[in-house]
Amino acid sequence: MERSGLAENKIATVEDNDLKWVLLCQKGDVEAFGILVERYQKKMLNVAYRMTGDYEESCEVVQDAFLAAFRTIKKFRGEARFSTWLYGIVINSTKNRLKQLKRDKSRFWHAGDNPGDPGDGAIDGFDCLAASGSGQQESLLEHLEKKELEAGVQKCIGLLESDHREILILRDIQGLSYDEIVTILKIPPGTVRSRLFRARIALKDLLLARIGEFS
């Protein structure tokens, strides 16, 4: 599984479909950057949202991250895929925003704290769920149960340590390869694995403790 992921990554690195748009962006083409924004805004927003648990905050973070990406896109040399590079910017922007928010007011994820009632920003984010995700064939009850479960999962993710949270989001939710995670987080591959495994066990324990049996 890992080997196949590395192979895919190598091919993908060679075949970066974003490269031509990136080159145009490096020449100051805003329209080309618009294409990249269109392509990655959802993924980046989901990363930010899973990190912060607040939809509005995640939108702000994504804006800042894309602006930072455009400002520094001339430094991008194609050593990794553009999406990998962009993930790194979003992760850093999100962490900086969380630090800032923690300084301003302890309103987000703190160990031992109640991550918030259902009326907080996390729920706002779920209100923006894609229509395709909530199929019309699902009954209203099932839909509500699923939303409640996902909200619980999100709360548990928020209770994880920051290092565990980001690596779990990148690997288990976004499905990035270990090499990409190594590039994004700038930590050794062994550290990535051990940290990820600890994060999984921690989240499982949290889910069992908070939600009970989940399926």
Binding site: C59, V62, D172
Partner: protein, 383 residues
């Protein structure tokens, strides 16, 4: 291997990252331990749950907002260079700064002329006439300055003044005015005791040795203007004419300075024994380098000055001068005498022909009844 150890290795087991030996051990344990088996199931369910989490959808405005901010940033970067050459941000401030720099430079260059002149040995001091004028104006009394006129112009004025009513001399004392028949000239005449005279045309004139043609032309023009004014107002309102004369003298000052400077240069080049700072009090031009002259030269200068005074005395006697008096006032030696009006013109011409720099001659008020005119000759004592 305990359940806790097994549980810690379950994520790696699921990803098939463990060696075969460890995998076999875990397999055996899972087959016998229901708790660890459930933990494995939970991990697998959690993985599915995380993979199937609903994705949040970005709001429709997000892309537009990002691109708008990006464009704004691009314009801001471009705008920086535009602002750099924008008249409001760059051009006008630059012009203002340049103007200020030029103004300051011009100011210092203008001020720098003084020291340069001093370096070259030319010192400019206020003319005595101006000082006297200031003293007189302080006393709030009418005052007549000696206009810078040529000898011929002065004599015309004298002739006119002879016909007109004689006015008190500027050299009268502060005591009650003397009777008209007596000479207004007094023995001890000092600047502080000088009282402004009553206005009269040409009553007091300061005679300069040399006048540039421009000054004479200007004087003539001023004279013509005075005559025109006097035609209407007569000599009963001499204040205006007096004012004109004062202006004429003031405007003639720069010429006097230049004349004095030229004469000094000539003297220095010609090896004259006159001290460099030997300008007439009215011109006030001197040379500070005189301090560097040797004692022998100073002795020679003193000798020359005495000789000059004696020569002027003899000249005065030749022109029937009476009451020749000499006094010392500050750095000046002052010779006063009363000359017959008819002799004044020739005397002045003779004196002028002597080419004595450092000598200033003032012609006092004419006494119409006695037909005399007082003459005051100032000779600079000290260089």
């Amino acid at each position: 291997m305990t359940c806790r150890d097994i549980e810690q290795n379950l994520p790696a087991y699921l990803e098939d990252l463990l060696p075969e030996e460890e995998k076999d051990l875990i397999r055996e344990h899972l087959a016998s331990c229901r708790k660890c088996g459930k933990a494995l199931e939970d991990l697998q369910r959690m993985e599915l749950l995380l993979q199937n989490l609903e994705e949040v959808t970005p709001p429709p405005w997000l892309k537009q907002k990002i691109l708008a901010q990006v464009k704004e940033g691009v314009h801001a970067e471009k705008g920086f260079f535009k602002k750099l050459f924008n008249p409001v941000y760059f051009k006008i401030p630059l012009q203002t700064v340049a103007l200020l720099v030029i103004t300051v430079l011009a100011f210092y260059l203008y001020r720098g002329e003084g020291p340069e002149l001093k370096k070259e040995g030319v010192d400019i001091v206020p003319p005595a006439a101006i000082l006297q004028q200031q003293q007189s104006s302080e006393k709030r009394e009418p005052f007549r300055m000696a206009p810078a006129q040529s000898a011929s112009t002065q004599m015309e004025s004298l002739e006119k003044s002879d016909k007109s009513v004689a006015a008190p001399s500027r050299y009268t004392r502060r005591e009650p005015a003397p009777p008209p028949q007596k000479s207004p000239l007094r023995e001890e005449i000092r600047p502080e005791s000088v009282q402004p005279a009553q206005p009269a045309d040409g009553a007091v004139v300061a005679l300069k040795k040399e006048f540039p043609p421009e000054a004479e032309e200007w004087e003539k023009r001023e004279k013509r203007k005075e005559k025109r004014l006097a035609g209407d107002q007569d000599s009963a309102k001499p204040g205006l004419q007096e004012h004109k004369i004062d202006e004429a003298q003031l405007k003639a000052q720069p010429h006097e300075f230049s004349v004095a400077s030229r004469s000094m240069e000539r003297d220095v080049e010609g090896g004259a024994t006159f001290p460099l700072r030997q300008s007439a009090p009215s011109t006030g031009i001197g040379n500070r380098d005189s301090k560097a002259e040797s004692a022998a030269t100073e002795t020679a200068q003193v000798r020359d000055r005495h000789k000059k005074v004696e020569e002027i005395r003899i000249l005065l006697r030749q022109y029937d001068a009476q009451k020749i008096e000499s006094s010392v006032s500050g750095e000046k030696e002052i010779l006063t005498a009363i000359l017959p009006s008819r002799q004044v013109k020739t005397f002045l011409q003779k004196l002028e022909a002597r080419d004595d720099t450092g000598t200033s001659v003032s012609v006092g008020t004419a006494d119409a009844k006695q037909g005399t005119v007082e003459i005051r000759i100032e000779i600079l004592r000290k260089p």
